[in-house]
Symmetry: C2
Subunit: 198 residues, 2 copies
């Protein structure tokens, strides 16, 4: 059998999704064609739509469709506190604990020299500009408690302390080696309350 | 953080891919937005394109962009032999063995009463019409050697023998319980040569 052009193109495109190998890409393509064409069309439009509309919040760097995201625009929040997280998922986990009412900065990653991810890739210039706006007084480092997350927190902490900011770190209620996304809200809540000076 | 509409829609659409849960759908969405917008656009277009263009070959039932696929149109092939497979991947595996020069019929599944997959879902009426065209003399059943594949082969075999066709089954060189897609070409080649009357 010669595969048709569109089918081959679909399998190749699915393969570029993270965690999807050639076999599962092919299975996905067959599954969509045979059993769920509506899901395939929905996904096609969702992808094009998202890439067209979503960019980074000019204040906190998270993904948003507007210039400044809703969280950053929320006047109820405490502008003197800035919490630095690796990903939007981590921010969501912290929000769920209801222990934090400040603002955020989302790195969209962590320092990882072995993978070639340096300060520029996690928007550190933007973070410095944001943290030194004259309103922020304390920066809470809430990167993951993995080796890379700890190194990122250390690097950012030194950088911000050198600029006269108070810097704290979530308490180690979070299990060592753990990723925030997989930790229960209670643990994160305690770690937030016990945050220590960094 | 409130998720933006397009981002939420993208994560939900990715979740409908087989084998993708809510966490990995969200990771995929973030990954595409942050690191591979080009892949996302390519996939978006590939999905819409494939759903628009690909349908079933009116002869062998495989996926194709044309009315009758290239394999079915190949005048070099032996029209007296018809090999029944579960999926296009299985057909490709058999092609790779270079032991078979007949035509194919692709069920796009297997009988599975527990999952509500009956004869209509695997196009058995089309298979009967195809196998009784007056040219086909032998039908080679090459469904998987799983319980469901064996039951499907048995069901189809009885149906076609009742219509006076010679029916054979790949020899059990294929490991019992094995799926063709994961078996080496040499084993499939031997099983094809040793195929037995069913
Ligand atoms: Zn924002
Ligand atoms: Zn065909």
């Amino acid at each position: 059998m010669k595969k048709t052009g569109s089918l081959e193109a679909l399998a190749e495109a699915l393969r570029r999704l993270p965690g999807v190998g050639p076999k599962s890409a092919q299975r996905m393509a067959y599954h969509l064609l045979q059993h769920d064409r509506e899901a395939a069309s929905t996904l096609g439009h969702a992808l094009l739509n998202a890439m067209d509309r979503i960019h980074h919040c000019s204040s906190c760097n998270t993904f948003t469709e507007i210039e400044i995201c809703e969280t950053c625009q929320d006047a109820q929040r405490d502008g003197t506190l800035l919490c630095v997280v690796e990903t939007p998922s981590d921010q969501m986990m912290i929000e769920q604990t209801l222990t934090y009412k400040g603002l955020y900065f989302v790195l969209m990653g962590r320092l990882s020299p072995l993978d070639g991810i340096g300060p520029r890739d996690i928007y550190l210039e933007r973070l410095i500009a944001r943290a030194t706006d004259g309103i922020v007084q304390e920066v809470v480092l809430a990167t993951n408690f993995t080796n890379e997350g700890e190194a990122t927190a250390h690097y950012i902490g030194e950088m911000l302390k050198a600029r006269g900011l108070k810097v704290s770190r979530l308490a180690r209620g979070v299990p060592v080696g753990g990723e925030l996304e997989y930790v229960d809200a209670g643990t994160i809540a305690r770690a937030m309350l016990d945050r220590r000076s960094a």
